[in-house]
């Protein structure tokens, strides 16, 4: 039996690699001028209006800076309690049962109010960080 066949594709010039960035401080990544992405209609039922949203990744680590203030909403309080230890946006989304986009809006408010820190992920670079790759390999070998 012969398997079905495909034809490989090439990297698209309109989708350049993100420019190499210096080591990321504990700040959400700013918009970097890549092509605009589709922006589907999103849900804001929890998080309210659409302010300037931080660029949060699924694996941005969120850490609470304080205990929940009395003014915090139930959702904000829940995030602050969950993030006493670092927790990814994806895990917060899973535990709180909120869609990712709703979660990012909620978190952006908390970042703006300086109630949480965001620790940016390490993303793939045009010039890969070999020591990073080796660290991941060693970690996996210990599994």
């Amino acid at each position: 039996m012969t398997p079905p066949r495909r034809t490989r594709r090439r990297p698209q010039p309109l989708v350049p690699e993100p420019a190499p960035r210096p080591p990321q401080p504990a700040q959400p990544t700013a918009a970097d001028g890549r092509r605009p992405r589709p922006n589907p209609e999103r849900l804001y039922s929890v998080a309210g209006s659409d302010g300037a949203r931080a660029e949060l990744d699924l694996v941005t680590l969120i850490v609470a800076r304080t205990a929940p203030p009395v003014s915090a909403t139930p959702e904000q309080s829940a995030v602050l309690r969950l993030c006493r230890a670092p927790l990814s946006v994806a895990e917060l989304s899973a535990y709180l049962g909120l869609p990712f986009s709703t979660m990012t809006v909620l978190l952006t408010e908390l970042i703006t109010d300086e109630l949480v820190h965001a620790r940016a992920p390490i993303v793939r670079q045009a010039v890969p960080d070999r020591s990073l790759l080796e660290a991941v390999m060693h970690g996996l070998q210990r599994l």
Binding site: R6, R8, P40, R81, V123, P128
Partner: protein, 206 residues
């Protein structure tokens, strides 16, 4: 811990909490068609029970999926399972299993772009369902390896025949695996990391 409210709020078990030293995370995506074993693979190597994150949007934003119902404003939810592996006290790896269907990709802005690399999990009974996602990864310059999940009744092709069918260059690893086994899933991830490392050594990363 004096985790106030921990008895009423869902959250990680104490032993599943990351240390405060955790500074940054990296991610690897596992892509493939429904039922190919993405979640099984995530679960076999994850240190936490696999979790599910969702993204929700209205159908109007997709323009497809008319079969979901006549109401054009019906929300469509796409779920993605993920797991976690602590690499060091400072570094955490997340594994995301994501559907291969093209209409889901843009829901996860940045998922592929920031990933170290990808595992394309294929089932030789339905090889063609992975074609689009491979093309997408190639277009985005995301390095990937191909892992063939060995189902008992699936046709078995020699690796070179698969390489030809999938139109993959000679450098891209193609490996057999049984994702139910932790050791096998670990081998797949190590194959990907070895591939990424060789690209880094040769300076050939696209």
């Amino acid at each position: 811990m004096d985790f106030k409210g921990s008895d009423t709020l869902p959250g990680p078990r104490t032993e599943d909490q990351l240390p405060h030293t955790a500074q940054a995370a990296v991610k690897i995506v596992i892509v493939g068609g429904f039922g190919v074993g993405k979640t099984t693979m995530v679960g076999s190597v994850s240190e936490i029970r696999p979790l599910t994150t969702e993204e929700t949007m209205t159908q109007a934003g997709i323009g497809v999926d008319d079969d979901y119902g006549s109401d054009s404003k019906t929300a469509t939810t796409v779920a993605m399972d993920f797991g976690r592996i602590s690499i060091t006290e400072k570094l955490v790896l997340y594994l995301f299993g994501t559907p291969g269907q093209e209409r889901f990709w843009f829901l996860w802005n940045g998922l592929f772009e920031g990933a170290l690399g990808a595992v394309v999990l294929v089932d030789t009974r339905r090889l063609e369902v992975s074609f689009d996602v491979m093309g997408r990864l190639e277009e985005g310059g995301v390095p990937f390896v191909v892992a063939v999940n060995s189902f008992p009744d699936a046709p078995r092709y020699p690796v070179e025949e698969l390489r030809t069918a999938l139109d993959l260059g000679p450098d891209i690893p193609i490996i057999d695996c049984d994702v139910r086994r932790r050791a096998s899933s670990k081998d797949v991830l190590l194959t990907l990391m070895g591939f990424l490392h060789s690209l880094a050594m040769s300076g050939a990363l696209i």
